[in-house]
């Protein structure tokens, strides 16, 4: 029997994290597994608001209060069903979403009571259900003989595939890597998202009937072929081009881009044999940038037993774009943060040796509403560096087949969706697109939302 006051009487408790000592060496998720009792207790804190702000804020509009209620009474399989009504990969979102900026940030209780641990419960529900043999059901057996091809097995493509197949539409997913997941697999380190999670998803999708064609770089020619054999195509290729930043000396040895660093590390961890490794053991590492990728890099470096790890960021802590919990984890694990610090010059003869940084203060807000950092004169400082990681973010780099197929792109290289018939349809009616490649580098949850919605649009498109 509920008392209606659980939200005060029970404190918000996140699952315990493993000891720092272990975390610093292991590429494994840092949270201990939760038990059902604590999940029940934590979900009972939900007020079941008439205006569920969590659901409203969530890009997928997950039925959060509803599945929290199910979790509270222990109906985990029903909860998993409900999670999957709005989300293709709830256990992944539960792990990697910046909840404090989305659902938990909007939670009514986040006004002094501390929000419900939505992410952790979401993760628990699906993990638990899957481990007990639960599987997402097909909504429609088979509705059409048509085939949809999906380019890119990242979150957008996979979500699109999941939605199509559960609604009875055949689909084939192409990807250049040997494992599905895109950045979920290669960009996000294991201590946030263990790879067996994605592998499990692959099994489920394949069982539902999704066909994967991997290690398959789609070029113009291959595209032609795919186009011929498909009734519609969904592009979810993401944005992989790193933003370089305006610093001298980027070409020196010892300067690496974030994504290749993370991907190579993951490949190495997945299979030591045929993967290249970038190892930072005993190195003095500096990471430039303040987003989630930067956090992934610093924390990876820690686990590689770097000698020291610095994070250099132009604004202050409050203005960091990265997830607050990730910053917290990084600090716990020993990363040193240099806030209000702007990299000015990479020093070294062929190989990076030092980084010159300058102090900044925050000026007036710019067009985007964020306050612009202004360099303080004569505040330069020198850092010793062995390895410098650039994690300023990514930008679009449209593949050649895009132009070839008359798909319009914007100045920023993003695919323009100006077709009014269907949402997510490109200027070439047969092509749909979603994820980072239409909005620029962003959260996985947005990509999933695009993929799901695009699937519904594609079905409508196929029906006519």
């Amino acid at each position: 029997m509920s008392s209606n006051f659980e939200f005060i009487d029970i404190k918000r408790i996140e699952p315990e994290t493993k000891s720092i000592k272990v975390r610093k060496i292991e590429f494994e998720e840092i949270y201990q597994t939760q038990n059902l009792e604590s999940v029940k207790e934590q979900s009972s804190r939900c007020l079941d608001c008439g205006n569920p702000y969590c659901e409203w804020k969530c890009p997928l509009h997950n039925y959060i209060p509803d599945w929290l209620k199910l979790a509270q009474i222990g109906s985990i399989h029903e909860a998993a069903d409900l999670c999957h009504e709005t989300n293709s990969f709830p256990e992944i979102c539960g792990r990697i979403c910046p909840q404090e900026k989305l659902c938990e940030g909007a939670c009514t209780l986040n006004t002094g009571y501390e929000a419900v641990t939505i992410g952790q419960i979401e993760k628990y529900i699906t993990d638990k259900a899957l481990s007990e043999g639960w599987k997402p059901k097909k909504l429609v057996e088979s509705s059409t003989k048509k085939t949809v091809s999906i380019i890119g097995a990242g979150p957008a493509g996979l979500a699109c595939a999941e939605n199509l197949i559960r609604r009875g539409v055949k689909c084939i997913v192409y990807d250049r890597y040997s494992q599905i997941g895109g950045l979920l697999t290669y960009g996000i380190p294991e201590f946030k998202l263990e790879k067996n999670i994605v592998i499990k998803r692959r099994e489920i999708l394949e069982e539902l009937g999704v066909e994967f064609v991997l290690n398959y770089e789609v070029d113009e020619k291959r595209m032609n072929e795919i186009e011929k054999n498909s009734d519609a195509i969904f592009l979810g290729l993401g944005t992989y081009e790193s933003i370089k930043g305006n610093i001298n000396g980027l070409s020196k040895d010892g300067v690496v881009e974030a994504l290749p660093y993370l991907i190579k590390n993951t490949e190495y961890l997945m299979s030591e044999e045929d993967a290249e490794n970038i190892d930072f053991r005993d190195k003095k590492v500096v990471v430039l940038g303040g987003g989630d990728t930067a956090m992934d890099c610093v924390r990876t470096a820690i686990r590689q037993q770097a000698k020291s790890v610095y994070c250099v960021y132009r604004r202050d802590k409050e203005n960091m774009p990265g997830s607050v919990k990730e910053i917290k984890h990084a600090m716990e694990e020993g990363v040193e943060f240099l806030f209000n610090s702007q990299p000015l010059e990479i020093i070294g003869n062929g190989t990076v040796r030092q980084l010159k940084i300058g102090k900044t203060k925050l000026g007036k807000a710019d067009g985007s509403g964020r306050r612009k950092p202004v360099l303080i004169k004569n505040s330069e400082k020198i850092l010793d560096v062995d390895k410098l990681v650039i994690a300023f973010g990514y930008e679009a780099d449209p593949q050649s087949f895009i132009a070839e197929n008359n798909i319009k792109v914007s100045d920023r290289g993003l695919i323009s969706l100006d077709n009014e018939n269907y949402k997510y349809q490109t200027s070439n009616p047969k092509f749909f697109a979603g994820g980072d490649m239409i909005i620029g580098s962003s959260l996985a949850v947005h990509a999933i939302a695009h993929g799901r919605d695009a699937a519904k649009e594609i079905i409508k498109f196929l029906e006519t």
Partner: protein, 1470 residues
């Protein structure tokens, strides 16, 4: 005419009959009847001219000698002995003579003489004069010699012919036509009635009996022919079931076959379908009595007592009533009927005793039964006995035998006249009794796939599944809070259940809701199945019926019915081919059924089931209603019963719709399947138990919906169509809902068919289907207070910038249409003016009120923040119904509007005196027809203290105000309030629904200064969810109707109109003004300004924002409400109003009120608006002169206050009051002097505050007190009355003492001394009376101590404190809903056990050892009673207490503790 509103008549009144026990003709019978009229004029109403009444009249025996003399005098004409008189009202230019003599000669009758009455029109008011007809007495004789009985039948047919062929208002109306009785009536002030009709002043004019009536009609323009009495009866009250009764009267027409009456075909309709409910009742009584039914049986058939749920009734009598119920549904509602014809005089009262009916026996052998005692008191006449009619009471005087029979005596006689019990035993079959013989299958679960498919096709979504789960698990509807902020279904862009198009009707003012929970003894769902037979015959065959205890069938009962051997049964599938189309399909089914019924099918089963996902199904709602109407038209309806095997109807609202539109029984198979699914997850309860619980919950819900209309019998609800049906095109309406007259139109058959096709092909996750109807869901139904709106508003107030606020308001104003107003935009031909030219912000703000939100539902902090904010701005805040801390009076934290609601929590003279506006809450937008609720968890000690209740006990306000069962009762309450606080304005809060305009007109005539029309979307702190969603209309239609009705009847300028319901922005304000509002109430918006986030958990007491909780740990740490933020909201809004006015070129908001030229339909939605019928909302009824918005002084009923004894008391006590000095004073009192003591209480409260008068004032009265004697009596004041009192004695008493002793001429033991609803809402004081009280004694008492010698039904209902000692018999349903205080009852005839409602109370003997303290306390109290009153009964009991003590019960609520009671009581006394 544009904007002209169709008006239905409602009336309520004062009435009575005075007759001679010896059937002696005497002029004093007439004279005294006229005196009664004059002395009950406060029960009637006056129109705007201050003289025209709503009508009064009397019905007399024809004094043959008198008329012979008259004609000799007037025309020198000698009348033959054998004459009858037809009284005709003829409009000036209408040539009635030829037509009338033609129809008479058809019946071999001739007009022997005629006299046009020489009436004095100068005595009439302006309005009455305009429409005054010529009044003609036509003396009719047979051409040949005929016997009298047959003549009356001829007269009946002539009356029918005239009724059906001539317009009563414009041509001709036959007032009465009989050889024995005659009626004088009209729109004449009772004081001049006998001057107008000089016949009546003539002392030679005699009668043995006279029935009199004075009318208060909510009808706006009074009409001559609607004055009462009608031809046989006068009626005080309201027939709530009238629409169903009329339908069934039509349906039954072929069952009215009597050898006395002959062929009636040419005279259809026999029962009028328009006009007033009373006239229809008069019609059917005339039909029955002429057709050979004894008037006693006719009365019992039409207005039966509640026989279904009582254990006290004799078996023969029960059988008699059950037999009657098989052929006639009850005409239900508050009603006192006075009947008079040649052979009988009779009075009878409705089953719940909702109207006063006092009996007086005089020493001149006359008896008077009437609404009030003492109305025809004359010098020298002594009253020797008094009595009253109780619930279902009946008095029958056989004029020929000179035999007077009361209640049981009548029933005994009637019930043994035929072997009813035997007939029933042999022929009728109760379904449940035979359950064990059933061998059919249990309900089996359908396949998951079929279940899912059915859920999709019939729109059963997760939200509803959850609701059904609660139905089954808790056998109760789930509770919710806040309002329904979704669009009404015709506006919604989603596919919604068709039942959402039906909005529950509810009673307000003219006819009250009843409390189906606390007064369940009068409620019944019993349903008879089988064909009906001729009503005029009585045979055993008539008892051949199957009886079920509820129309909601279990699977077993459904199967039993299908397999029954008595009546042929046939199933009809509602599936149809896509190509056929919906309309064709419905017509096909109707034809099939009609054919089959003609061939003898009795049970028609409509199957709403789908065999495959491709096949569409006719919605059961449309099929049922269309079929019901078709069968009526074919005269087949009573030959068969409709049983609906439905998938679409699953909750109580949906099932109520089917029954109201004609279903006999309903088997909700998909609902039951859903419960089976629930049972799969339930460990504790079996599927059968859950199904039983589910149906129990549906039964409760059905009763609740019926009770909102004041209907207690499902048979009277069936086929009544008591829903406002919105959102259908005219073609759909004409086939399925032919009587529907909603302003909101909508979809055609084609549209419905398309939606039907869409819904059967859904996969369940489609966004086109509505979801999130209660709580917001993304891509679900739109919500007016969605997260964006809430966040935008809160953020803009946090920033404090007007620019951001405008972002909020333009976000709201540019939303997709969600309310009717969204289809309109403001426009003007005027040139914009400068902002400076517009009236200042203060004058806009003065029109803003906060809507009533009680302290209790809100935290004290929020309540005070709101009050402070409103006071600071010069706006008014509304206390809500939970009382207010006296500490706040006179400070900036006080609420200027103080609410008086049905629970009367904390309504003391002090409270009332500290208000600028007193608002009577008749209904609230969130749940009209139901009372407020405050969950026990929110009743902490502070709240309990203010509400005079116990912490932790849930407080539920009764659905009705127990002192308002009729419009004249509202007038009385308004009078009471104006007496206690003469400076306050009285406001009446109504909820929008069709007909609200007429109610509002009545309310104006009842002297209200303000009327609030609330929209259905108003909020609430706690309510069953189905109530939030399905009752009430948008304020736009209600305001349109009210504005037009008031204009039409010249009443608009006497009242200020307010609207509330979801107002959010300046644009809403101006649009509301254009619809007619003078002022504006805001509820939710200022709450959000205080931090409310629309969480809809107000009922749980865990509101995290601290607004709607009493938890200090939340409030102290998390309540962020600031006076400034609330003020910002109002200032910004007012400022924006000014900006918009400037743009419209208007200098003040006044100029916008009622000016529909300022609004046009939005272009983008024009087609849609026209389809929905919204274009008509811009029509205005305009009287010849321009409507002035200036408020006039209300002259209506003003004259009455001159008689106020209160004025005299005030004058006499002036010095004493000023000095705080006690004293003793003597007064005479009569029944016209009402609310005596209230003014004094108010004056004392003003001067001495809560503590009352410091010394003792004793006021001695002699005579008969008018209503509300001693209401709101104050500490320090003792009112002693020797005589009789009417209703509401000691209402709201806060302190002091009321002592009523019988007059020395009354020799009887236990005379009825006081009327109904005494001590209602009393918060303290003492009450003693040496006699018996009427119904509802000490209802909602929370502090008064009373001793009385007997009471009627429902004594101590909802009591939360105080003590009641009854030294005599009590009525049924004692202690219903009682949660505090205690009672001792002297149970001499040992019947109390059956009369006590045991839901919340227990009763114990006081003889045991441990009850010692109680015995001695009781003895002390009786001794005190004797000291105060010298009561004989008290003396007798006390003298032999040892003997009598074993006959006492102590009644205590479960919430109380016996020993604590006595300790506490002793402490209080000390």
């Amino acid at each position: 005419m544009k904007g002209k509103i169709q008006i239905q008549d409602h009336d309520s009144c004062g009435t009575g009959v005075l007759f001679s026990k010896n059937n002696e003709f005497n002029h004093s019978v007439i004279k005294r009847a006229l005196l009664s009229l004059s002395n009950m004029k406060h029960r009637g109403a006056l129109s705007y001219d201050g003289v025209t009444t709503d009508g009064c009249g009397i019905l007399l025996d024809i004094d043959r000698k008198f008329f012979q003399k008259k004609l000799l005098e007037e025309q020198n004409l000698i009348l033959p002995n054998n004459f009858s008189i037809a009284v005709l009202m003829v409009q000036d230019n209408f040539d009635y003579k030829k037509k009338f003599s033609e129809i008479c000669s058809k019946f071999d009758l001739k007009i022997s003489a005629e006299r046009e009455l020489n009436v004095d029109r100068n005595l009439l008011g302006e309005l009455a004069k305009k429409s005054c007809p010529r009044i003609i007495h036509a003396f009719i004789s047979p051409k040949k010699n005929n016997d009298t009985e047959n003549l009356e039948v001829s007269f009946f047919k002539i009356k029918k012919y005239l009724d059906n062929n001539f317009c009563a208002e414009k041509e001709l109306y036959c007032v009465s036509f009989s050889a024995k009785t005659i009626v004088y009536k009209g729109l004449v002030h009772p004081d001049v009635f006998s001057s107008f009709y000089s016949d009546l002043a003539d002392e030679r004019h005699k009668s043995a009996s006279s029935t009199f009536h004075i009318r208060f009609s909510t009808n706006t323009s009074p009409k001559w022919h609607l004055a009462q009495p009608y031809r046989l009866i006068a009626h005080n009250g309201e027939i709530n079931t009238i629409s169903g009764n009329r339908n069934w009267a039509t349906a039954r027409i072929q069952n009215f076959k009597s050898k006395h009456l002959g062929d009636l075909k040419d005279y259809y309709p026999l029962i009028n379908q328009k006009g007033s409910d009373s006239s229809s009742l008069d019609n059917i009584l005339e039909l029955f009595t002429l057709g050979g039914i004894n008037v006693g049986r006719a009365a019992r058939m039409l207005i039966p007592p509640s026989w279904q749920n009582t254990d006290l009734m004799d078996a023969d009598e029960k059988a008699f009533h059950e037999y009657n119920s098989m052929h006639m549904e009850a005409w239900d509602g508050p009603a006192l009927i006075c009947f008079q014809n040649n052979n009988y005089v009779s009075c009878f009262l409705d089953r719940n005793g909702l109207r006063p009916a006092r009996i007086e026996y005089f020493d001149d052998n006359t008896i008077c039964v009437s609404s009030e005692v003492g109305s025809n008191e004359m010098k020298g006449l002594k009253r020797i006995e008094t009595g009253r009619l109780g619930p279902g009471g009946l008095i029958l005087f056989d004029r020929n035998a000179k035999e007077l029979l009361m209640n049981d005596q009548v029933d005994k006689k009637l019930s043994t006249s035929k072997p009813y019990r035997e007939w029933l035993k042999e022929n009728s079959k109760h379904l449940e009794a035979n359950l064990h013989t059933y061998s059919g299958p249990e309900m089996r679960e359908v396949s998951e796939k079929y279940f899912q498919q059915s859920c999709n096709s019939f729109l059963l979504n997760k939200e509803e599944m959850e609701m059904l789960r609660v139905y089954a698990m808790e056998s109760n509807e789930p509770t919710g809070s806040m309002g329904d902020d979704t669009p009404i279904s015709p506006i919604s862009k989603k596919i919604r259940s068709l039942y959402d198009n039906c909005r529950q009707k509810f009673a307000q003012v003219t006819n009250p809701p009843i409390d189906s929970l606390r007064e369940k003894s009068v409620m019944s769902l019993e349903t008879c199945i089988g064909p009906e037979l001729n009503i005029f015959e009585e045979t055993s065959e008539h008892a051949n019926r199957i009886v079920v205890n509820s129309p909601i069938l279990s699977h077993k009962k459904f199967n039993l019915l299908l397999k029954n051997k008595k009546f042929p049964c046939k199933r009809f599938s509602l599936e149809y081919r896509e190509s056929e189309g919906l309309e064709e399909a419905i017509l096909r089914v109707l034809d099939d059924v009609v054919k089959s019924v003609k061939l003898g099918t009795n049970l028609v089963v409509l199957d709403e089931k789908q065999s495959s996902s491709k096949i569409p199904v006719i919605p059961a709602l449309l099929a049922t209603s269309a079929l019901h109407n078709r069968l009526i038209n074919e005269n087949l309806r009573t030959k068969c019963n409709l049983i609906i095997n439905t998938a679409s109807a699953r909750d109580n609202h949906q099932i109520a719709c089917l029954i109201a539109f004609g279903a006999t029984c309903v088997h909700p198979w998909l609902g039951l399947q859903a419960i089976l699914k629930v049972s799969n997850n339930s460990m504790d309860l079996s599927s059968n138990e859950l199904c039983v619980a589910y149906r129990k919950c549906l039964n409760k819900g059905l009763l609740k919906i019926m009770s909102k209309m004041g209907i207690s019998n499902v048979s009277s609800y069936r086929g009544s169509g008591l829903f406002e049906v919105i959102g259908f095109s005219d073609e759909v309406n004409s086939l399925c809902f032919p009587k529907n007259d909603s302003l909101i139109k909508g979809e055609s058959f084609e549209d419905l068919h398309k939606k039907n096709m869409l819904s059967i092909s859904f996969d369940g996750s489609d966004d086109r289907v509505a979801k999130g109807l209660h709580k917001y869901k993304h891509n679900g139904e739109e919500h007016a207070f969605n997260p964006d709106v809430v966040m935008n508003l809160q953020n803009s107030l946090k920033s404090g910038s007007f620019k951001e606020f405008k972002n909020y308001s333009s976000y709201v104003n540019s939303r997709k249409p969600l309310a009717i107003r969204d289809y309109f935009e403001l426009c003007s031909n005027n040139k914009p003016i400068n902002l400076e030219e517009v009236e200042p912000i203060e004058s806009i703000l003065s029109r803003f009120d906060s809507a009533g939100m009680s302290l209790g539902s809100m935290s004290p902090h929020a309540h005070e923040t709101l009050a402070a904010a409103m006071n600071g701005l010069g706006c008014r805040s509304n206390s809500g119904e939970g009382g207010e801390d006296p500490k706040r009076y006179g400070t900036n934290l006080e609420s200027k509007i103080k609410q008086v609601a049905s629970g009367r929590f904390g309504v003391t003279p002090h409270y009332l005196r500290n208000a600028e506006v007193l608002q009577i809450k008749i209904a609230q937008g969130a749940k009209p027809g139901e009372g407020g609720q405050l969950p026990g968890s929110k009743v902490d000690s502070y709240i309990a203290e203010l509400r005079y209740s116990k912490p932790g006990i849930t407080l539920i306000s009764p659905p009705p105000h127990h002192d308002i069962y009729s419009i004249e009762d509202l007038a009385q309450l308004i009078y009471d309030l104006k007496q206690v606080n003469p400076k306050a304005l009285v406001s009446v809060k109504l909820v929008s629904e069709p007909g609200v305009g007429i109610v509002a007109a009545g309310v104006v005539k009842a002297n209200a200064d303000f009327i609030t029309i609330s929209g259905h979307d108003g909020g609430t702190g706690a309510s069953p969810i189905s109530s939030i969603r399905h009752a009430g209309s948008p304020w736009e239609t209600g305001m349109y109707e009210t504005q037009n009705t008031l204009l039409q009847s010249n009443l608009r300028s006497y009242v200020r109109l307010q609207t509330d319901g979801g107002l959010k922005t300046a644009e809403d304000v101006i649009k509301a003004a254009v619809f007619g509002a003078d002022s504006f109430g805001f509820g939710t918006a200022p709450m959000i300004a205080m931090g409310c986030k629309y969480l809809r958990i107000c009922h749980l007491n865990n509101c995290a924002t601290g607004v709607a909780t009493q938890q200090l740990r939340i409030i102290n740490d998390h309540f962020l409400g600031e006076v400034e933020k609330v003020q910002k909201f109002f200032e910004f809004t007012a400022h924006e109003v000014r900006e918009k006015l400037a743009k419209l070129g208007l200098k003040s908001l006044e100029d916008a009120i009622g000016d529909t030229s300022l609004m046009i339909l939005k272009k983008d939605y024009k087609d849609e608006s026209v389809k929905l019928g919204f274009d008509r909302l811009l029509d205005r009824y305009r009287p010849n002169k321009k409507q002035s918005n200036e408020l006039k002084k209300n002259l209506i009923n003003n004259s009455l206050s001159d008689e106020s004894l209160n004025n005299l008391i005030t004058k006499k006590l002036k010095t004493n009051l000023a000095k705080g000095k006690g004293g003793s004073f003597n007064f005479e009192i009569k029944n016209t002097q009402r609310s005596v003591g209230a003014r004094l209480a108010g004056d004392i409260a003003e001067k001495f505050g809560r503590e009352g008068f410091p010394e003792k004032i004793i006021l001695n009265f002699k005579g008969n007190a008018g209503q509300s004697f001693g209401c709101w009596n104050s500490k320090g004041v003792e009112l002693k009355l020797n005589g009789l009192a009417n209703d509401y004695v000691g209402k709201g008493m806060n302190g002091g003492k009321i002592v009523i002793t019988k007059n020395k001429h009354l020799n009887q033991e236990r005379p009825v001394l006081v009327g109904n609803t005494c001590l209602f809402g009393a918060t303290g004081g003492e009450f003693y009376a040496t006699g018996v009280a009427g119904e509802r004694f000490a209802v909602r008492n929370s502090g008064a101590k009373a001793i009385i010698e007997g009471t009627g039904d429902h004594c101590c209902e909802y009591m939360t404190g105080g003590e009641v000692i009854v030294l005599g018999p009590v009525g049924n349903n004692f202690g219903a809903g009682m949660t505090g205080g205690f009672a001792y009852v002297f149970d001499q005839d040992r019947s109390f056990v059956d009369k006590c409602n045991k839901d919340l109370v227990s009763f114990n003997r006081i003889t045991s050892q441990e009850m010692e303290a109680h015995r001695s306390y009781l003895k002390d109290r009786i001794a005190h009673f004797i000291k105060e009153t010298n009561s004989n009964i008290g003396n007798e009991i006390l003298e032999d207490f040892e003997k009598y003590q074993s006959l006492f019960w102590i009644v205590t609520p479960y919430a109380e503790n016996l020993s604590r009671i006595i300790r506490k009581t002793r402490e209080d006394a000390a």
